[in-house]
Symmetry: D2
Subunit: 164 residues, 4 copies
Protein backbone atom coordinates (compact mmCIF):
# COMPACT_ATOMS: atom_id res chain seq x y z
CA UNK A 1 0.00 0.00 0.00
CA UNK A 2 1.18 3.55 -0.68
CA UNK A 3 2.57 5.51 2.24
CA UNK A 4 2.33 9.29 1.86
CA UNK A 5 4.30 11.80 3.87
CA UNK A 6 2.37 15.02 4.44
CA UNK A 7 4.50 18.02 5.40
CA UNK A 8 2.66 21.10 6.70
CA UNK A 9 4.19 24.56 6.43
CA UNK A 10 1.24 26.79 7.40
CA UNK A 11 -0.54 29.04 4.93
CA UNK A 12 -4.22 29.83 4.50
CA UNK A 13 -5.22 26.16 4.65
CA UNK A 14 -4.12 26.04 8.31
CA UNK A 15 -5.53 29.40 9.43
CA UNK A 16 -7.84 29.52 12.43
CA UNK A 17 -9.69 32.36 14.13
CA UNK A 18 -8.24 33.45 17.45
CA UNK A 19 -10.13 35.11 20.33
CA UNK A 20 -8.26 38.31 19.46
CA UNK A 21 -10.18 38.47 16.19
CA UNK A 22 -7.04 37.69 14.19
CA UNK A 23 -6.38 34.74 11.94
CA UNK A 24 -3.38 32.68 12.98
CA UNK A 25 -1.71 29.47 11.80
CA UNK A 26 -3.22 26.52 13.65
CA UNK A 27 -2.36 22.83 13.75
CA UNK A 28 -2.00 21.15 10.33
CA UNK A 29 -5.44 21.02 8.72
CA UNK A 30 -4.36 17.87 6.89
CA UNK A 31 -4.92 15.82 10.04
CA UNK A 32 -8.56 16.90 10.25
CA UNK A 33 -9.14 16.71 6.50
CA UNK A 34 -7.79 13.17 6.23
CA UNK A 35 -9.69 11.80 9.23
CA UNK A 36 -12.95 11.01 7.35
CA UNK A 37 -11.10 9.15 4.55
CA UNK A 38 -11.36 5.41 5.06
CA UNK A 39 -8.29 3.97 3.35
CA UNK A 40 -5.69 1.22 3.38
CA UNK A 41 -3.04 3.80 2.54
CA UNK A 42 -0.92 5.01 5.40
CA UNK A 43 0.34 8.51 5.97
CA UNK A 44 2.06 10.71 8.51
CA UNK A 45 1.75 14.47 8.99
CA UNK A 46 4.87 16.49 9.89
CA UNK A 47 4.40 20.11 11.02
CA UNK A 48 7.62 21.50 9.52
CA UNK A 49 6.84 25.24 9.48
CA UNK A 50 3.90 27.45 10.52
CA UNK A 51 4.18 30.47 8.25
CA UNK A 52 2.14 32.73 6.07
CA UNK A 53 3.89 31.99 2.77
CA UNK A 54 4.51 35.70 2.18
CA UNK A 55 6.89 35.49 5.16
CA UNK A 56 8.74 32.42 3.90
CA UNK A 57 12.44 32.99 3.27
CA UNK A 58 14.93 30.87 1.40
CA UNK A 59 16.30 29.82 4.80
CA UNK A 60 12.81 28.48 5.58
CA UNK A 61 12.77 26.73 2.21
CA UNK A 62 16.16 25.17 2.92
CA UNK A 63 14.81 23.89 6.25
CA UNK A 64 11.78 22.43 4.44
CA UNK A 65 14.10 20.85 1.91
CA UNK A 66 16.05 19.19 4.71
CA UNK A 67 12.82 17.82 6.21
CA UNK A 68 11.81 16.30 2.87
CA UNK A 69 15.29 14.94 2.23
CA UNK A 70 15.06 13.16 5.56
CA UNK A 71 11.78 11.37 4.81
CA UNK A 72 12.21 7.66 4.12
CA UNK A 73 9.39 7.43 1.57
CA UNK A 74 9.07 8.41 -2.06
CA UNK A 75 5.64 10.15 -1.93
CA UNK A 76 5.43 13.61 -0.35
CA UNK A 77 2.55 16.12 -0.19
CA UNK A 78 3.40 19.59 1.11
CA UNK A 79 0.65 21.93 2.35
CA UNK A 80 1.71 25.52 1.80
CA UNK A 81 0.41 29.08 1.54
CA UNK A 82 -0.62 29.97 -1.98
CA UNK A 83 1.18 33.30 -2.39
CA UNK A 84 4.69 31.89 -2.80
CA UNK A 85 3.91 28.25 -3.54
CA UNK A 86 5.44 28.52 -7.05
CA UNK A 87 8.68 29.91 -5.56
CA UNK A 88 8.92 27.09 -3.04
CA UNK A 89 8.21 24.50 -5.73
CA UNK A 90 11.04 25.90 -7.85
CA UNK A 91 13.37 25.97 -4.84
CA UNK A 92 12.61 22.35 -3.94
CA UNK A 93 12.99 21.31 -7.57
CA UNK A 94 16.47 22.76 -7.56
CA UNK A 95 17.65 21.68 -4.11
CA UNK A 96 16.08 18.33 -3.18
CA UNK A 97 18.77 15.70 -2.86
CA UNK A 98 16.88 12.57 -3.92
CA UNK A 99 15.99 12.04 -7.57
CA UNK A 100 13.22 9.54 -6.97
CA UNK A 101 10.76 11.47 -4.80
CA UNK A 102 7.45 12.76 -6.12
CA UNK A 103 6.57 15.96 -4.28
CA UNK A 104 3.21 17.69 -4.72
CA UNK A 105 2.47 21.05 -3.12
CA UNK A 106 -1.08 22.13 -2.42
CA UNK A 107 -2.95 24.58 -0.21
CA UNK A 108 -6.20 26.49 -0.14
CA UNK A 109 -7.61 29.88 -1.05
CA UNK A 110 -9.86 29.71 2.03
CA UNK A 111 -9.01 28.16 5.42
CA UNK A 112 -10.05 24.53 5.93
CA UNK A 113 -11.89 25.80 9.02
CA UNK A 114 -14.23 27.91 6.87
CA UNK A 115 -17.24 26.60 5.02
CA UNK A 116 -17.14 26.40 2.12
CA UNK A 117 -13.42 25.89 1.56
CA UNK A 118 -11.39 24.37 -1.26
CA UNK A 119 -9.08 22.65 1.26
CA UNK A 120 -10.50 19.11 1.22
CA UNK A 121 -10.85 19.08 -2.57
CA UNK A 122 -7.28 20.30 -3.05
CA UNK A 123 -5.85 17.80 -0.59
CA UNK A 124 -7.71 15.00 -2.38
CA UNK A 125 -6.23 16.26 -5.62
CA UNK A 126 -2.68 16.35 -4.24
CA UNK A 127 -2.85 12.97 -2.47
CA UNK A 128 -3.99 11.43 -5.77
CA UNK A 129 -1.56 13.31 -7.99
CA UNK A 130 1.40 12.24 -5.86
CA UNK A 131 0.56 8.60 -6.65
CA UNK A 132 0.17 9.15 -10.39
CA UNK A 133 2.89 11.66 -11.27
CA UNK A 134 6.53 10.86 -12.04
CA UNK A 135 9.33 11.86 -9.68
CA UNK A 136 9.82 15.60 -9.46
CA UNK A 137 8.13 18.61 -7.89
CA UNK A 138 4.55 19.53 -8.82
CA UNK A 139 1.71 21.77 -7.71
CA UNK A 140 -1.92 20.63 -7.47
CA UNK A 141 -4.08 23.76 -7.31
CA UNK A 142 -6.97 25.36 -9.17
CA UNK A 143 -8.26 21.96 -10.31
CA UNK A 144 -5.09 21.17 -12.24
CA UNK A 145 -1.56 19.84 -11.92
CA UNK A 146 1.49 21.97 -12.76
CA UNK A 147 5.23 21.29 -12.93
CA UNK A 148 7.64 23.27 -10.74
CA UNK A 149 9.06 26.21 -12.65
CA UNK A 150 6.16 26.35 -15.09
CA UNK A 151 3.48 27.82 -12.86
CA UNK A 152 2.51 31.17 -11.39
CA UNK A 153 -0.32 32.44 -9.21
CA UNK A 154 -2.61 35.03 -10.76
CA UNK A 155 -3.14 36.92 -7.51
CA UNK A 156 -6.04 39.05 -8.74
CA UNK A 157 -8.11 36.00 -9.68
CA UNK A 158 -6.75 33.56 -7.08
CA UNK A 159 -5.99 31.03 -9.83
CA UNK A 160 -2.76 29.18 -10.64
CA UNK A 161 -1.78 29.41 -14.33
CA UNK A 162 0.75 27.62 -16.50
CA UNK A 163 3.75 29.58 -17.69
CA UNK A 164 4.51 29.12 -21.36
Amino acid sequence: MPHIHVVATGGTIDKVYALTGELEIGAPAADTLLSPILTDNTYDVTPALALDSLDMTDADRAALCAVIDGLPGRLVVVTHGTDTMPETAAFLDEHLAAADQTVVLTGAMRPAAMAPSDAAYNLGAAMTAVQLLPAGVHIAMSGRVFSAGKVAKDHARGIFVELS
Copy 2:
Protein backbone atom coordinates in the same frame (compact mmCIF):
# COMPACT_ATOMS: atom_id res chain seq x y z
CA MET B 1 -7.85 24.22 -20.70
CA PRO B 2 -9.32 20.87 -19.70
CA HIS B 3 -13.08 20.49 -19.88
CA ILE B 4 -14.49 17.83 -17.57
CA HIS B 5 -17.93 16.28 -17.88
CA VAL B 6 -19.40 15.32 -14.51
CA VAL B 7 -22.23 12.79 -14.65
CA ALA B 8 -24.26 12.30 -11.46
CA THR B 9 -26.13 9.05 -10.81
CA GLY B 10 -27.17 9.50 -7.16
CA GLY B 11 -25.69 7.43 -4.33
CA THR B 12 -24.66 8.43 -0.82
CA ILE B 13 -22.74 11.49 -2.02
CA ASP B 14 -26.04 13.07 -3.15
CA LYS B 15 -28.19 12.07 -0.17
CA VAL B 16 -30.08 14.77 1.71
CA TYR B 17 -32.34 14.64 4.76
CA ALA B 18 -36.03 15.02 4.02
CA LEU B 19 -38.70 16.38 6.38
CA THR B 20 -40.02 12.82 6.64
CA GLY B 21 -36.84 11.81 8.45
CA GLU B 22 -35.67 9.74 5.50
CA LEU B 23 -32.57 10.22 3.40
CA GLU B 24 -33.30 10.78 -0.26
CA ILE B 25 -31.27 11.52 -3.39
CA GLY B 26 -30.98 15.29 -3.84
CA ALA B 27 -29.53 17.45 -6.60
CA PRO B 28 -25.99 16.52 -7.71
CA ALA B 29 -23.61 17.36 -4.85
CA ALA B 30 -20.87 17.96 -7.43
CA ASP B 31 -22.37 21.37 -8.22
CA THR B 32 -22.03 22.50 -4.61
CA LEU B 33 -18.66 20.83 -4.09
CA LEU B 34 -17.13 22.45 -7.17
CA SER B 35 -18.43 25.95 -6.46
CA PRO B 36 -15.55 27.01 -4.12
CA ILE B 37 -12.86 25.82 -6.59
CA LEU B 38 -11.44 28.80 -8.47
CA THR B 39 -10.19 27.36 -11.76
CA ASP B 40 -9.64 28.00 -15.43
CA ASN B 41 -10.92 24.50 -16.17
CA THR B 42 -14.47 24.25 -17.37
CA TYR B 43 -16.98 21.57 -16.49
CA ASP B 44 -20.63 20.67 -16.80
CA VAL B 45 -22.74 18.52 -14.47
CA THR B 46 -25.33 16.16 -15.97
CA PRO B 47 -27.86 14.54 -13.61
CA ALA B 48 -28.21 11.22 -15.45
CA LEU B 49 -29.74 9.02 -12.73
CA ALA B 50 -30.82 9.52 -9.12
CA LEU B 51 -30.45 6.08 -7.59
CA ASP B 52 -29.16 4.29 -4.57
CA SER B 53 -26.55 2.12 -6.29
CA LEU B 54 -28.02 -1.03 -4.73
CA ASP B 55 -31.07 -0.37 -6.93
CA MET B 56 -29.07 0.13 -10.12
CA THR B 57 -29.88 -2.38 -12.86
CA ASP B 58 -28.02 -3.17 -16.06
CA ALA B 59 -30.73 -1.22 -17.87
CA ASP B 60 -29.75 1.81 -15.77
CA ARG B 61 -26.10 1.14 -16.57
CA ALA B 62 -26.91 0.97 -20.28
CA ALA B 63 -28.67 4.33 -19.99
CA LEU B 64 -25.62 5.77 -18.21
CA CYS B 65 -23.40 4.33 -20.93
CA ALA B 66 -25.50 6.08 -23.57
CA VAL B 67 -25.17 9.38 -21.72
CA ILE B 68 -21.38 9.07 -21.59
CA ASP B 69 -21.19 7.96 -25.23
CA GLY B 70 -23.06 11.14 -26.12
CA LEU B 71 -20.63 13.49 -24.37
CA PRO B 72 -18.41 15.45 -26.76
CA GLY B 73 -15.37 15.54 -24.45
CA ARG B 74 -12.73 13.02 -23.50
CA LEU B 75 -12.69 13.54 -19.70
CA VAL B 76 -15.60 12.16 -17.65
CA VAL B 77 -16.12 11.91 -13.89
CA VAL B 78 -19.11 9.86 -12.70
CA THR B 79 -20.47 10.30 -9.17
CA HIS B 80 -22.03 7.04 -8.03
CA GLY B 81 -23.16 5.09 -4.98
CA THR B 82 -20.36 3.02 -3.49
CA ASP B 83 -22.12 -0.33 -3.12
CA THR B 84 -22.10 -1.29 -6.81
CA MET B 85 -19.51 1.15 -8.15
CA PRO B 86 -17.17 -1.70 -9.15
CA GLU B 87 -20.00 -3.38 -11.12
CA THR B 88 -20.81 -0.17 -12.97
CA ALA B 89 -17.13 0.45 -13.73
CA ALA B 90 -16.84 -3.04 -15.23
CA PHE B 91 -20.04 -2.54 -17.23
CA LEU B 92 -18.84 0.79 -18.65
CA ASP B 93 -15.44 -0.69 -19.41
CA GLU B 94 -17.14 -3.34 -21.51
CA HIS B 95 -19.82 -1.27 -23.21
CA LEU B 96 -18.55 2.27 -23.79
CA ALA B 97 -18.30 2.96 -27.51
CA ALA B 98 -15.40 5.42 -27.62
CA ALA B 99 -11.86 4.19 -27.06
CA ASP B 100 -10.38 7.54 -26.15
CA GLN B 101 -12.40 8.60 -23.12
CA THR B 102 -10.97 8.59 -19.61
CA VAL B 103 -13.78 7.83 -17.16
CA VAL B 104 -13.28 8.03 -13.38
CA LEU B 105 -16.01 6.98 -10.97
CA THR B 106 -16.12 8.32 -7.44
CA GLY B 107 -18.60 8.80 -4.61
CA ALA B 108 -18.66 9.07 -0.85
CA MET B 109 -19.12 6.96 2.24
CA ARG B 110 -20.96 9.85 3.90
CA PRO B 111 -23.27 12.37 2.19
CA ALA B 112 -21.67 15.61 1.02
CA ALA B 113 -24.33 17.35 3.15
CA MET B 114 -22.89 15.84 6.34
CA ALA B 115 -19.89 17.14 8.22
CA PRO B 116 -17.40 15.63 8.12
CA SER B 117 -17.74 13.89 4.76
CA ASP B 118 -15.24 12.38 2.33
CA ALA B 119 -17.16 13.85 -0.64
CA ALA B 120 -15.03 16.93 -1.44
CA TYR B 121 -11.77 15.01 -1.01
CA ASN B 122 -12.96 12.20 -3.27
CA LEU B 123 -14.21 14.59 -5.95
CA GLY B 124 -10.86 16.40 -5.89
CA ALA B 125 -9.18 13.03 -6.31
CA ALA B 126 -11.39 12.03 -9.26
CA MET B 127 -11.19 15.41 -11.05
CA THR B 128 -7.39 15.14 -10.84
CA ALA B 129 -7.13 11.46 -11.75
CA VAL B 130 -9.24 11.98 -14.88
CA GLN B 131 -6.60 14.42 -16.17
CA LEU B 132 -3.64 12.14 -15.39
CA LEU B 133 -4.88 8.64 -16.24
CA PRO B 134 -4.89 7.02 -19.68
CA ALA B 135 -8.12 6.30 -21.55
CA GLY B 136 -10.22 3.64 -19.88
CA VAL B 137 -12.50 3.26 -16.86
CA HIS B 138 -11.16 3.84 -13.35
CA ILE B 139 -12.34 4.30 -9.77
CA ALA B 140 -10.97 6.96 -7.40
CA MET B 141 -11.99 5.94 -3.88
CA SER B 142 -10.38 5.21 -0.50
CA GLY B 143 -7.47 7.52 -1.29
CA ARG B 144 -6.37 5.46 -4.28
CA VAL B 145 -7.01 4.85 -7.98
CA PHE B 146 -8.18 1.48 -9.30
CA SER B 147 -8.78 0.04 -12.78
CA ALA B 148 -12.22 -1.24 -13.76
CA GLY B 149 -12.44 -4.98 -13.24
CA LYS B 150 -9.65 -5.04 -10.67
CA VAL B 151 -11.45 -3.51 -7.69
CA ALA B 152 -14.03 -4.51 -5.09
CA LYS B 153 -15.64 -2.81 -2.12
CA ASP B 154 -14.94 -4.34 1.28
CA HIS B 155 -18.39 -3.55 2.64
CA ALA B 156 -17.56 -4.30 6.27
CA ARG B 157 -14.74 -1.76 6.35
CA GLY B 158 -16.11 0.69 3.77
CA ILE B 159 -12.83 0.53 1.84
CA PHE B 160 -12.18 -0.22 -1.84
CA VAL B 161 -9.52 -2.88 -2.40
CA GLU B 162 -7.56 -4.09 -5.40
CA LEU B 163 -8.38 -7.54 -6.76
CA SER B 164 -5.34 -9.63 -7.52
Copy 3:
Protein backbone atom coordinates in the same frame (compact mmCIF):
# COMPACT_ATOMS: atom_id res chain seq x y z
CA MET C 1 -24.07 31.08 37.68
CA PRO C 2 -26.83 28.98 36.13
CA HIS C 3 -26.27 25.26 35.89
CA ILE C 4 -28.26 23.53 33.16
CA HIS C 5 -28.91 19.81 32.96
CA VAL C 6 -29.14 18.58 29.37
CA VAL C 7 -30.89 15.23 28.94
CA ALA C 8 -30.55 13.54 25.55
CA THR C 9 -33.14 11.05 24.32
CA GLY C 10 -32.10 10.60 20.68
CA GLY C 11 -34.18 11.86 17.77
CA THR C 12 -33.14 13.52 14.52
CA ILE C 13 -30.79 15.93 16.26
CA ASP C 14 -28.55 13.00 17.26
CA LYS C 15 -28.69 11.05 13.98
CA VAL C 16 -25.44 10.11 12.29
CA TYR C 17 -24.71 8.27 9.03
CA ALA C 18 -23.47 4.72 9.47
CA LEU C 19 -21.28 2.76 7.03
CA THR C 20 -24.35 0.67 6.23
CA GLY C 21 -25.94 3.71 4.62
CA GLU C 22 -28.51 3.98 7.39
CA LEU C 23 -29.02 6.83 9.82
CA GLU C 24 -28.65 5.81 13.43
CA ILE C 25 -28.76 7.57 16.81
CA GLY C 26 -25.24 8.69 17.75
CA ALA C 27 -23.80 10.26 20.87
CA PRO C 28 -25.68 13.32 22.20
CA ALA C 29 -25.19 16.16 19.69
CA ALA C 30 -25.53 18.63 22.57
CA ASP C 31 -21.95 17.91 23.63
CA THR C 32 -20.60 18.93 20.24
CA LEU C 33 -23.00 21.85 19.83
CA LEU C 34 -22.13 23.33 23.21
CA SER C 35 -18.35 23.00 22.83
CA PRO C 36 -17.82 26.31 20.92
CA ILE C 37 -19.86 28.32 23.45
CA LEU C 38 -17.56 30.18 25.82
CA THR C 39 -19.58 30.64 28.99
CA ASP C 40 -19.45 30.88 32.77
CA ASN C 41 -22.58 28.73 32.93
CA THR C 42 -22.05 25.11 33.76
CA TYR C 43 -23.91 22.14 32.33
CA ASP C 44 -23.90 18.38 32.18
CA VAL C 45 -25.22 16.12 29.43
CA THR C 46 -27.00 12.88 30.37
CA PRO C 47 -27.70 10.33 27.61
CA ALA C 48 -30.98 8.99 29.00
CA LEU C 49 -32.47 7.32 25.90
CA ALA C 50 -31.37 6.82 22.28
CA LEU C 51 -34.64 6.54 20.38
CA ASP C 52 -36.38 7.73 17.29
CA SER C 53 -39.27 9.53 18.97
CA LEU C 54 -41.79 7.56 16.90
CA ASP C 55 -40.62 4.52 18.88
CA MET C 56 -40.94 6.18 22.27
CA THR C 57 -43.43 4.48 24.59
CA ASP C 58 -44.96 5.70 27.83
CA ALA C 59 -42.59 3.34 29.62
CA ASP C 60 -39.72 5.24 28.00
CA ARG C 61 -41.34 8.51 29.04
CA ALA C 62 -41.67 7.25 32.61
CA ALA C 63 -37.96 6.38 32.58
CA LEU C 64 -37.15 9.88 31.29
CA CYS C 65 -39.36 11.34 34.00
CA ALA C 66 -37.40 9.42 36.64
CA VAL C 67 -34.12 10.74 35.23
CA ILE C 68 -35.36 14.33 35.41
CA ASP C 69 -36.84 13.83 38.89
CA GLY C 70 -33.39 12.68 40.00
CA LEU C 71 -31.57 15.78 38.78
CA PRO C 72 -30.47 18.10 41.59
CA GLY C 73 -30.91 21.33 39.60
CA ARG C 74 -33.91 23.38 38.59
CA LEU C 75 -33.05 24.00 34.90
CA VAL C 76 -33.44 21.11 32.44
CA VAL C 77 -33.18 21.00 28.64
CA VAL C 78 -34.30 17.78 26.95
CA THR C 79 -33.20 16.99 23.38
CA HIS C 80 -35.84 14.85 21.71
CA GLY C 81 -37.14 13.66 18.35
CA THR C 82 -39.69 16.05 16.89
CA ASP C 83 -42.44 13.60 15.95
CA THR C 84 -43.72 12.95 19.47
CA MET C 85 -42.14 15.86 21.34
CA PRO C 86 -45.58 17.33 22.19
CA GLU C 87 -46.68 13.97 23.67
CA THR C 88 -43.56 13.73 25.82
CA ALA C 89 -43.97 17.33 26.97
CA ALA C 90 -47.54 16.61 28.05
CA PHE C 91 -46.45 13.40 29.80
CA LEU C 92 -43.68 15.18 31.71
CA ASP C 93 -46.03 18.01 32.61
CA GLU C 94 -48.38 15.50 34.19
CA HIS C 95 -45.86 13.20 35.88
CA LEU C 96 -42.83 15.20 37.02
CA ALA C 97 -42.58 15.15 40.81
CA ALA C 98 -40.96 18.53 41.47
CA ALA C 99 -42.99 21.70 41.08
CA ASP C 100 -40.04 24.04 40.73
CA GLN C 101 -38.21 22.69 37.69
CA THR C 102 -38.24 24.49 34.35
CA VAL C 103 -38.02 21.89 31.59
CA VAL C 104 -37.59 22.88 27.92
CA LEU C 105 -37.69 20.29 25.16
CA THR C 106 -36.01 20.93 21.84
CA GLY C 107 -34.68 18.99 18.88
CA ALA C 108 -34.02 19.45 15.19
CA MET C 109 -35.65 18.88 11.84
CA ARG C 110 -32.25 17.98 10.38
CA PRO C 111 -29.40 16.15 12.15
CA ALA C 112 -26.77 18.33 13.86
CA ALA C 113 -24.24 16.43 11.72
CA MET C 114 -25.75 17.84 8.52
CA ALA C 115 -25.05 21.28 7.11
CA PRO C 116 -27.13 23.31 7.27
CA SER C 117 -29.05 22.16 10.33
CA ASP C 118 -31.36 23.91 12.76
CA ALA C 119 -29.76 22.05 15.71
CA ALA C 120 -27.41 24.74 17.07
CA TYR C 121 -30.02 27.48 16.71
CA ASN C 122 -32.66 25.38 18.49
CA LEU C 123 -30.31 24.43 21.31
CA GLY C 124 -29.39 28.10 21.78
CA ALA C 125 -33.11 28.87 21.94
CA ALA C 126 -33.80 26.15 24.52
CA MET C 127 -30.78 26.93 26.73
CA THR C 128 -31.94 30.55 26.84
CA ALA C 129 -35.64 29.83 27.30
CA VAL C 130 -34.93 27.54 30.26
CA GLN C 131 -33.36 30.50 32.08
CA LEU C 132 -36.22 32.92 31.30
CA LEU C 133 -39.37 30.78 31.59
CA PRO C 134 -41.25 29.96 34.80
CA ALA C 135 -41.32 26.46 36.25
CA GLY C 136 -43.22 24.00 34.07
CA VAL C 137 -42.70 22.09 30.84
CA HIS C 138 -42.14 23.94 27.56
CA ILE C 139 -41.06 23.33 23.98
CA ALA C 140 -38.61 25.57 22.10
CA MET C 141 -38.99 24.77 18.40
CA SER C 142 -39.76 26.55 15.12
CA GLY C 143 -38.35 29.81 16.46
CA ARG C 144 -40.90 30.02 19.26
CA VAL C 145 -41.68 28.81 22.77
CA PHE C 146 -44.77 26.74 23.56
CA SER C 147 -46.34 25.40 26.75
CA ALA C 148 -46.82 21.66 27.24
CA GLY C 149 -50.32 20.63 26.25
CA LYS C 150 -50.82 23.60 23.95
CA VAL C 151 -48.61 22.58 21.05
CA ALA C 152 -48.69 20.19 18.10
CA LYS C 153 -46.35 19.40 15.23
CA ASP C 154 -47.67 20.11 11.76
CA HIS C 155 -45.94 17.14 10.18
CA ALA C 156 -46.51 18.20 6.58
CA ARG C 157 -44.75 21.51 7.09
CA GLY C 158 -42.31 20.47 9.81
CA ILE C 159 -43.45 23.36 12.01
CA PHE C 160 -44.69 23.37 15.61
CA VAL C 161 -47.98 25.23 16.08
CA GLU C 162 -49.92 26.48 19.08
CA LEU C 163 -53.17 24.71 19.92
CA SER C 164 -56.01 27.06 20.67
Copy 4:
Protein backbone atom coordinates in the same frame (compact mmCIF):
# COMPACT_ATOMS: atom_id res chain seq x y z
CA MET D 1 -47.29 35.39 14.94
CA PRO D 2 -44.23 37.28 16.14
CA HIS D 3 -42.42 39.44 13.62
CA ILE D 4 -38.76 40.04 14.45
CA HIS D 5 -36.63 42.79 12.95
CA VAL D 6 -32.98 41.76 12.61
CA VAL D 7 -30.53 44.65 12.24
CA ALA D 8 -26.98 43.76 11.17
CA THR D 9 -24.05 46.02 12.01
CA GLY D 10 -21.08 43.81 11.05
CA GLY D 11 -18.71 42.34 13.62
CA THR D 12 -17.06 38.93 13.80
CA ILE D 13 -20.34 37.10 13.10
CA ASP D 14 -20.37 38.58 9.58
CA LYS D 15 -16.67 38.16 8.75
CA VAL D 16 -15.71 36.31 5.59
CA TYR D 17 -12.34 35.42 4.08
CA ALA D 18 -11.34 37.49 1.07
CA LEU D 19 -9.00 36.44 -1.75
CA THR D 20 -6.46 38.88 -0.32
CA GLY D 21 -6.13 36.68 2.75
CA GLU D 22 -7.85 39.27 4.94
CA LEU D 23 -11.09 38.91 6.86
CA GLU D 24 -13.72 41.43 5.85
CA ILE D 25 -17.34 42.14 6.78
CA GLY D 26 -19.62 40.21 4.42
CA ALA D 27 -23.38 40.16 3.95
CA PRO D 28 -25.42 39.72 7.16
CA ALA D 29 -24.85 36.16 8.41
CA ALA D 30 -28.33 36.24 9.94
CA ASP D 31 -29.85 35.59 6.51
CA THR D 32 -27.89 32.36 6.11
CA LEU D 33 -28.29 31.32 9.74
CA LEU D 34 -32.07 31.75 9.69
CA SER D 35 -32.63 29.95 6.39
CA PRO D 36 -32.76 26.39 7.85
CA ILE D 37 -35.29 27.41 10.54
CA LEU D 38 -38.80 26.33 9.55
CA THR D 39 -41.12 28.73 11.35
CA ASP D 40 -44.41 30.59 11.21
CA ASN D 41 -42.64 33.66 12.61
CA THR D 42 -41.72 36.32 10.12
CA TYR D 43 -38.59 38.45 10.10
CA ASP D 44 -36.66 40.92 8.03
CA VAL D 45 -32.91 41.57 7.99
CA THR D 46 -31.65 45.16 7.65
CA PRO D 47 -27.93 45.70 6.95
CA ALA D 48 -27.55 48.96 8.88
CA LEU D 49 -23.75 49.09 9.31
CA ALA D 50 -20.80 46.91 8.30
CA LEU D 51 -18.18 47.62 10.95
CA ASP D 52 -15.71 45.95 13.19
CA SER D 53 -17.18 47.05 16.53
CA LEU D 54 -13.81 48.47 17.63
CA ASP D 55 -14.31 51.05 14.88
CA MET D 56 -17.86 51.96 15.92
CA THR D 57 -18.29 55.60 16.94
CA ASP D 58 -21.15 57.28 18.75
CA ALA D 59 -22.16 58.73 15.38
CA ASP D 60 -22.51 55.15 14.12
CA ARG D 61 -24.51 54.30 17.22
CA ALA D 62 -26.79 57.29 16.63
CA ALA D 63 -27.36 56.07 13.08
CA LEU D 64 -28.19 52.59 14.40
CA CYS D 65 -30.54 54.16 16.92
CA ALA D 66 -32.36 55.97 14.11
CA VAL D 67 -32.72 52.71 12.17
CA ILE D 68 -34.26 50.96 15.18
CA ASP D 69 -36.50 53.95 15.96
CA GLY D 70 -37.83 53.67 12.44
CA LEU D 71 -38.81 50.02 12.65
CA PRO D 72 -42.56 49.47 12.90
CA GLY D 73 -42.34 46.39 15.15
CA ARG D 74 -41.68 45.87 18.82
CA LEU D 75 -39.12 43.00 18.61
CA VAL D 76 -35.58 43.79 17.46
CA VAL D 77 -32.43 41.64 17.35
CA VAL D 78 -29.16 43.43 16.58
CA THR D 79 -26.12 41.48 15.38
CA HIS D 80 -22.97 43.27 16.47
CA GLY D 81 -19.24 42.85 17.06
CA THR D 82 -18.46 41.65 20.56
CA ASP D 83 -15.76 44.13 21.54
CA THR D 84 -18.03 47.12 22.10
CA MET D 85 -21.41 45.42 22.32
CA PRO D 86 -21.88 46.54 25.93
CA GLU D 87 -21.19 50.18 24.93
CA THR D 88 -23.72 50.03 22.10
CA ALA D 89 -26.31 48.41 24.37
CA ALA D 90 -25.88 51.22 26.90
CA PHE D 91 -26.09 53.85 24.15
CA LEU D 92 -29.30 52.36 22.75
CA ASP D 93 -30.77 52.06 26.22
CA GLU D 94 -30.24 55.76 26.73
CA HIS D 95 -31.23 57.06 23.29
CA LEU D 96 -33.97 54.86 21.81
CA ALA D 97 -37.16 56.86 21.40
CA ALA D 98 -39.80 54.16 21.88
CA ALA D 99 -40.44 52.75 25.34
CA ASP D 100 -42.10 49.55 24.19
CA GLN D 101 -39.42 47.90 22.07
CA THR D 102 -37.48 44.86 23.23
CA VAL D 103 -33.99 45.00 21.73
CA VAL D 104 -31.53 42.10 22.07
CA LEU D 105 -27.95 42.38 20.85
CA THR D 106 -25.95 39.30 19.96
CA GLY D 107 -22.92 38.34 17.92
CA ALA D 108 -20.24 35.67 17.79
CA MET D 109 -16.73 34.99 18.96
CA ARG D 110 -16.02 33.17 15.70
CA PRO D 111 -17.40 34.03 12.24
CA ALA D 112 -20.58 32.24 11.20
CA ALA D 113 -18.62 31.11 8.12
CA MET D 114 -16.21 29.11 10.30
CA ALA D 115 -16.87 25.66 11.69
CA PRO D 116 -17.39 25.37 14.53
CA SER D 117 -18.88 28.77 15.36
CA ASP D 118 -21.11 30.03 18.15
CA ALA D 119 -23.10 32.15 15.66
CA ALA D 120 -26.18 29.93 15.12
CA TYR D 121 -26.47 29.14 18.83
CA ASN D 122 -26.23 32.81 19.80
CA LEU D 123 -28.76 33.89 17.19
CA GLY D 124 -31.18 31.22 18.42
CA ALA D 125 -30.65 32.56 21.93
CA ALA D 126 -31.31 36.16 20.90
CA MET D 127 -34.35 35.40 18.71
CA THR D 128 -35.87 33.56 21.68
CA ALA D 129 -34.88 36.09 24.33
CA VAL D 130 -36.45 38.93 22.34
CA GLN D 131 -39.82 37.16 22.59
CA LEU D 132 -39.55 36.47 26.33
CA LEU D 133 -37.90 39.59 27.76
CA PRO D 134 -39.67 42.82 28.75
CA ALA D 135 -39.16 46.05 26.82
CA GLY D 136 -35.65 47.42 27.11
CA VAL D 137 -32.18 46.69 25.78
CA HIS D 138 -30.49 43.35 26.48
CA ILE D 139 -27.51 41.26 25.41
CA ALA D 140 -27.69 37.54 24.69
CA MET D 141 -24.12 36.22 24.73
CA SER D 142 -22.04 33.57 26.52
CA GLY D 143 -25.11 31.40 27.06
CA ARG D 144 -26.84 34.04 29.18
CA VAL D 145 -28.98 37.17 29.01
CA PHE D 146 -27.77 40.52 30.40
CA SER D 147 -29.37 43.95 30.83
CA ALA D 148 -27.85 46.99 29.13
CA GLY D 149 -25.55 48.82 31.51
CA LYS D 150 -24.95 45.76 33.68
CA VAL D 151 -22.65 43.80 31.41
CA ALA D 152 -19.01 43.84 30.28
CA LYS D 153 -16.88 41.67 28.04
CA ASP D 154 -13.97 39.89 29.68
CA HIS D 155 -11.69 40.21 26.65
CA ALA D 156 -9.05 37.77 27.87
CA ARG D 157 -11.55 34.95 28.22
CA GLY D 158 -14.01 36.00 25.48
CA ILE D 159 -16.90 35.79 27.94
CA PHE D 160 -19.55 38.36 28.83
CA VAL D 161 -19.95 38.93 32.56
CA GLU D 162 -22.50 40.68 34.74
CA LEU D 163 -21.48 43.89 36.43
CA SER D 164 -22.46 44.08 40.07
